[in-house]
C-alpha cells in the first residue's frame, strides 16, 4: 500500500463519526419532524440514516412534504376545525322515493318471504296506491313503514305473487347487476376487490344458510324507465277523511304538479316523478333506491388512520352507510388540495370534488330526491342541483368504495367544501354555515360584549338592540346560503325563486298566501308590494351570488391568509400564537400570499423556523 493511501485510510478511521456529533436537540427536532410530516416517530433505520454523514435534511423534508402523511396531517387541522361527521342517531336524508322498505308476506307454501316496497309508491289499483302492493285482505297483514307487519299472515297465491311482485338481482348483491343475467354475487373476496363488506349472514334466506340471490319487490318499484307519465286521479283527499279498511295511510291526493301536468312525461329521478307517476321505479338492479333492511352494510366507524385502517366498524342499513361516504368526500377533497399542493383557497372556491362508487350513486340517483316538495307549488319540479348528476362518472359502480375519482366540475353552484352534503347537514342553518366559515377561515368569532338584550319586535336582527352587534356581520354572510335549503342541499334557482316574488306578496285580502310562499318567503319581510326570500334580507344580492360569492369574499379578505397561517402554525407548534408571534405570522402570511396560497411552502417555513425547533419549554440540562 502506498504510504499516502495508508495515511488517508488511517485519517478516515480517526475522523469522528458525524452522527456522534448530533446533539440531543437535533434528534428531537428530527423526531418532531417525523411525527408531523411522516405521521409517526422515526424508525431505527430512519434514525440511522439521519445519523449518517451526508444526511440531507432539505431533501428529506421535500420528500416528506410530498407524501400522504403530510397531507393527512394538514387535513387534520381543518377536519378538527370543521368536525365533518354527524352523530350516530341523526336521522337525515330519508326521502320516501329512495327508501326501499322491508316487510314479509307468506307464499302459497307458507314460507315467509321478504318483500321490498316504497312507501308512497303510486300504483294503478286505487286501494294499493301509495302503499305496499298487497291489501290486508290478501296477506292478512297490516304493513307499516318499516319492520315486521302486524296481523296473522295468510298465504298469498302464486298467481297473485307473480302478478304483484318480481325478483330482482339488486346492486348491493351483484357487481354486474346491470347485465341481463347478473352472476357476480357479493362474497368474502369483495373486501379485497372493492373494499366493500356485508354481514353475510344477513344476506341469507330465512333458513340462515342459503345465500339470497335476489330480492322480491313490488312490480312498480322494479321499473327501470327514466321518465314516467304524470297521472292525476282527480281524487280529493281531506285531512279528516277516514282511513280505508286495511290501510294505515290515506290515499295520495293529486299534487299541484300532477294537476297541472297530467299526461305529460316527467323525470323518474326527481321526487315529483315518484309522487305523480305510476311508471317510475327504482331502476336497473334497484340502483335508484337504498334498502332500509338488512342493517348489514359494514360501515367503518372509528377511522383515525383512514377507512382502510378502521379501528371500529358496525353494520348499518345502507341509508346510514352512505353517511360515512359523505364524510369521506370532504376528507378526500382536502387531501387532494394538500397532496397536490393546490391553492388553499380551493377549500372554499373549488368546483371539483372526489367521489367513489357510493357517492357517485348518491349524486346520480339520490341527491335530488329532496327536491322539490312544497317548492313544486312554485313551479320547481326538476332539481337544479349543486352537483350536476351529468358530471358524475358513470364508470363507478355503487360497490366500488375504494375507487376514488376526481370530478373537476360539479356544476355552476359548487363551492368547495361549502356545497358538500356533510357540510350542509353538519351546519344545518344558514347562520350556522356562515358562522363555520367565519370562524374557520377568518379566525373570527361573533362575540357581543356588553350587549343588552331587550324585548323587541324588530325582525331585522341587524337592527335589533343587543343582536345587531353580531348580526350586522352574520346576516349578510348567511344570505349567501339563502338559496340552499336548511338541513338539506336543495338549491333554489333564481328564476323560480327571485328575492322578491310577486305572487307571494301580501297584496291579497288574506295577506301572504299560505303554503309554499310561507315556506320559502319570510312573512316578516313581506308587504303588499314585495317579499323576501328567507335568509336573504341581510344582503339580498348575496342570495343570488350563493356560496361562491361567500368564497370570493372570504378568500379575498385580509383575514384569510393570516387565518390559514394561524391555524396551521398553532397546530404544528402545539400552542396559541401570541402577540410576540405577530411579526413572524405577518411575514408568513405575506409569503403565503406571494407564493399563491400553497400550503407546502408555508409548512416548510414553519417547521424550519426556530419557533418550531424550540417549540416547547424543554431546556437542555
Amino acid at each position: 500500500m502506498k504510504w499516502w493511501l495508508a495515511c488517508v485510510v488511517i485519517g478516515l478511521a480517526l475522523v469522528p463519526d458525524l452522527g456522534a456529533q448530533r446533539a440531543l436537540a437535533d434528534y428531537r427536532y428530527f423526531r418532531a419532524l417525523s411525527i408531523d410530516l411522516a405521521g409517526r416517530p422515526p424508525t431505527r433505520d430512519e434514525i440511522a440514516a439521519f445519523e449518517a454523514a451526508g444526511f440531507d435534511l432539505d431533501a428529506w423534508l421535500d420528500a416528506r412534504l410530498a407524501s400522504e402523511p403530510y397531507a393527512e396531517r394538514i387535513r387534520r387541522v381543518y377536519t378538527d376545525l370543521l368536525r365533518l361527521e354527524l352523530p350516530e342517531g341523526t336521522a337525515v336524508f330519508r326521502p320516501p322515493s329512495v327508501l326501499l322498505r322491508w316487510t314479509t308476506i307468506q307464499d302459497a307454501d307458507g314460507k315467509t318471504l321478504d318483500l321490498y316496497f316504497r312507501e308512497g309508491q303510486r300504483r294503478l289499483k286505487p286501494e294499493l296506491d301509495g302503499q305496499v302492493c298487497f291489501t290486508q285482505a290478501e296477506t292478512g297483514l297490516i304493513v307499516g313503514a318499516d319492520g315486521p307487519p302486524n296481523g296473522t299472515p295468510k298465504r298469498v297465491s302464486k298467481r297473485l305473487l307473480e302478478e304483484r311482485t318480481v325478483v330482482v338481482k339488486p346492486w348491493w348483491l351483484y357487481a354486474d347487476y346491470k347485465t341481463r343475467q347478473p352472476r357476480n354475487r357479493a362474497d368474502a373476496t369483495w373486501v379485497e376487490r372493492y373494499g366493500y363488506e356485508l354481514v353475510w349472514s344477513m344476506f341469507n334466506e330465512a333458513d340462515g344458510k342459503t345465500p339470497v340471490t335476489g330480492v322480491r319487490v313490488c312490480r312498480e318499484e322494479a321499473q327501470i324507465a327514466e321518465t314516467g307519465r304524470v297521472v292525476a286521479t282527480g281524487r280529493i283527499v281531506k285531512k279528516g277523511d277516514p282511513l280505508l279498511p286495511g290501510r294505515l295511510t290515506r290515499l295520495p291526493a293529486d299534487t299541484a304538479f300532477a294537476k297541472a301536468n297530467a299526461g305529460t312525461m316527467t323525470s323518474c329521478f326527481a321526487q315529483t316523478g315518484f309522487e305523480s307517476s305510476i311508471e317510475c321505479g327504482c331502476g336497473v338492479g334497484l340502483e335508484r333506491c337504498l334498502p332500509t333492511v338488512p342493517a348489514g352494510f359494514v360501515m367503518p366507524w372509528v377511522t383515525p388512520l383512514g377507512v382502510d385502517l378502521a379501528f371500529d366498524s358496525a353494520p348499518r342499513p345502507a341509508i346510514l352507510w352512505l353517511r360515512a361516504w359523505w364524510s369521506q368526500e370532504a376528507i378526500h377533497f382536502l387531501d387532494r388540495i394538500f397532496r397536490e399542493d393546490r391553492d388553499v383557497r380551493e377549500i372554499l372556491t373549488s368546483p371539483s370534488t372526489t367521489v367513489n362508487g357510493p357517492l357517485a350513486q348518491f349524486y346520480r340517483f339520490f341527491a335530488n330526491a329532496t327536491c322539490c316538495g312544497a317548492a313544486s307549488e312554485l313551479g320547481y319540479t326538476q332539481a337544479e342541483p349543486l352537483f350536476d348528476p351529468a358530471k358524475v362518472p358513470t364508470s363507478l359502480s355503487p360497490h366500488e368504495v375504494a375507487t376514488w375519482t376526481v370530478v373537476e366540475d360539479r356544476g355552476p353552484h359548487a363551492a368547495g367544501v361549502m356545497t358538500m352534503p356533510m357540510f350542509l347537514l353538519k351546519y344545518g342553518s344558514r347562520r350556522q354555515r356562515a358562522h363555520a366559515v367565519y370562524s374557520v377561515f377568518m379566525c373570527k368569532e361573533f362575540v357581543a360584549e356588553a350587549a343588552k338584550l331587550e324585548p323587541s319586535t324588530e325582525p331585522d336582527l341587524t337592527k335589533r338592540a343587543g343582536c345587531s352587534t353580531c348580526h350586522q356581520r352574520l346576516e349578510p354572510m348567511a344570505a349567501y346560503f339563502a338559496r340552499i335549503q336548511e338541513s338539506d342541499w336543495t338549491y333554489l334557482p333564481q328564476p323560480l325563486f327571485p328575492v322578491s316574488l310577486e305572487r307571494c306578496t301580501a297584496a291579497g285580502p288574506a295577506g301572504m298566501p299560505m303554503g309554499a310562499c310561507r315556506t320559502f318567503y319570510d312573512p316578516d319581510f313581506t308587504d303588499r308590494t314585495s317579499t323576501m326570500l328567507r335568509g336573504a334580507y341581510g344582503a339580498p344580492a348575496h342570495a343570488d351570488e350563493g356560496p361562491r360569492g361567500l368564497a370570493r369574499d372570504v378568500t379575498s379578505s385580509p383575514e384569510f391568509a393570516p387565518c390559514v397561517v394561524r391555524n396551521v402554525a398553532q397546530s404544528l407548534l402545539g400552542r396559541q400564537l401570541t402577540a410576540a408571534d405577530d411579526t413572524w405570522k405577518a411575514a408568513l402570511a405575506k409569503a403565503f400570499v406571494d407564493g399563491k396560497y400553497r400550503m407546502r411552502s408555508l409548512v416548510r417555513a414553519i417547521v424550519t423556523s426556530p419557533r418550531y425547533r424550540d417549540a416547547n419549554d424543554r431546556k437542555p440540562r
Binding site: 423526531r31 411525527i35 409517526r40 387534520r76 368536525r83 385502517l309 408571534d581 416547547n616
Partner: protein, 220 residues
C-alpha cells in the same frame, strides 16, 4: 465625661489634612466592554402530546405494521388488551360525531391507557421476539441477541436499541443517565419469580413498558 467626649469627637473629625481629591478634566474614555447576554424571547409552551393518530400508527408499526384488528388479535389474551374502543378516546382522539375536541395535553387517564397498551405490546413482543427467537431481521422491538445474565456492559447496547425505538435518540445523549436506572429496573424484575415468562423475559418486558410510558415517548 461630656467634655471628654466632645474633645474626642473633635479630634477624630479633624484628624489629618484630608482635603477632597481634585479630578482634573481629561478625554472621555469608552465604557469598558461588557458581555452581551442573549435572551431567547421566543414564546414557549409545554411540550405537546403526540397526536393520537401518531401514537396509533407507531403502535401498529411496533406490532409489525399490523392492521388494528390484527393488532387486537395479537394483543388480546390474559387480560392484556380489551378492545380498541376502550382506549381511543382516552388517547385524546377527537370524536367529530359528537363534537368532542382533540385532547392535546396529557392527563392521567391518557397515561394509564398508554401504560396499558405498552404492557400489551411489550409482553407480546417478548413472546414474539425473544421466546420464539426469530432471526434478528424479523424482530420488531427486541432486535438484538438476548444477553445471558446481562451485565451493565452487555445490557447497554441492547437497551440503546429499545431507547432509539421508543424515544428516537441514542441513550448516551439522555439528559439524565438512564442506563444505570433501567439496568436496576431490569435486575429488580429479573430477580423475581418467573410467571408465564422467564425472569429475564419479564425484565425485558418491564424495560420496554417503561420506555413506552416514558414522558418523552408521548410528548414532543
Amino acid at each position: 465625661m461630656r467634655p471628654v467626649a466632645l474633645l474626642l469627637a473633635l479630634l477624630v473629625a479633624c484628624h489629618g489634612d484630608r482635603r477632597p481629591a481634585v479630578i482634573s478634566p481629561g478625554t472621555a474614555q469608552p465604557w469598558p466592554a461588557h458581555r452581551a447576554v442573549l435572551l431567547d424571547q421566543s414564546p414557549k409552551a409545554k411540550r405537546r402530546a403526540v397526536p393520537a393518530e401518531v401514537f396509533l400508527r407507531a403502535y401498529l408499526g411496533w406490532f409489525g405494521d399490523l392492521a388494528p384488528y390484527d393488532a387486537f388479535l395479537r394483543a388480546r389474551g390474559n387480560d392484556l388488551f380489551d378492545q380498541w374502543s376502550y382506549y381511543l378516546a382516552a388517547l385524546g382522539l377527537p370524536d367529530h360525531h359528537v363534537d368532542a375536541p382533540r385532547i392535546s395535553q396529557s392527563n392521567t387517564v391518557m397515561l394509564a391507557t398508554i401504560g396499558r397498551l405498552g404492557e400489551a405490546l411489550c409482553i407480546r413482543s417478548v413472546e414474539h421476539d425473544l421466546r420464539a427467537n426469530p432471526p434478528l431481521d424479523k424482530r420488531v422491538i427486541f432486535a438484538f441477541e438476548q444477553p445471558v445474565q446481562p451485565t451493565r456492559e452487555t445490557f447497554a447496547p441492547a437497551f440503546d436499541i429499545l431507547h432509539r425505538t421508543f424515544l428516537g435518540y441514542p441513550v448516551a445523549l439522555a439528559p439524565i443517565p438512564r442506563i444505570d436506572r433501567f439496568f436496576a429496573l431490569y435486575r429488580e424484575v429479573a430477580s423475581r419469580q418467573a410467571t408465564r415468562l422467564t425472569p429475564d423475559e419479564m425484565a425485558w418486558a418491564a424495560v420496554c413498558t417503561a420506555l413506552v410510558q416514558h414522558p418523552e415517548a408521548w410528548v414532543y
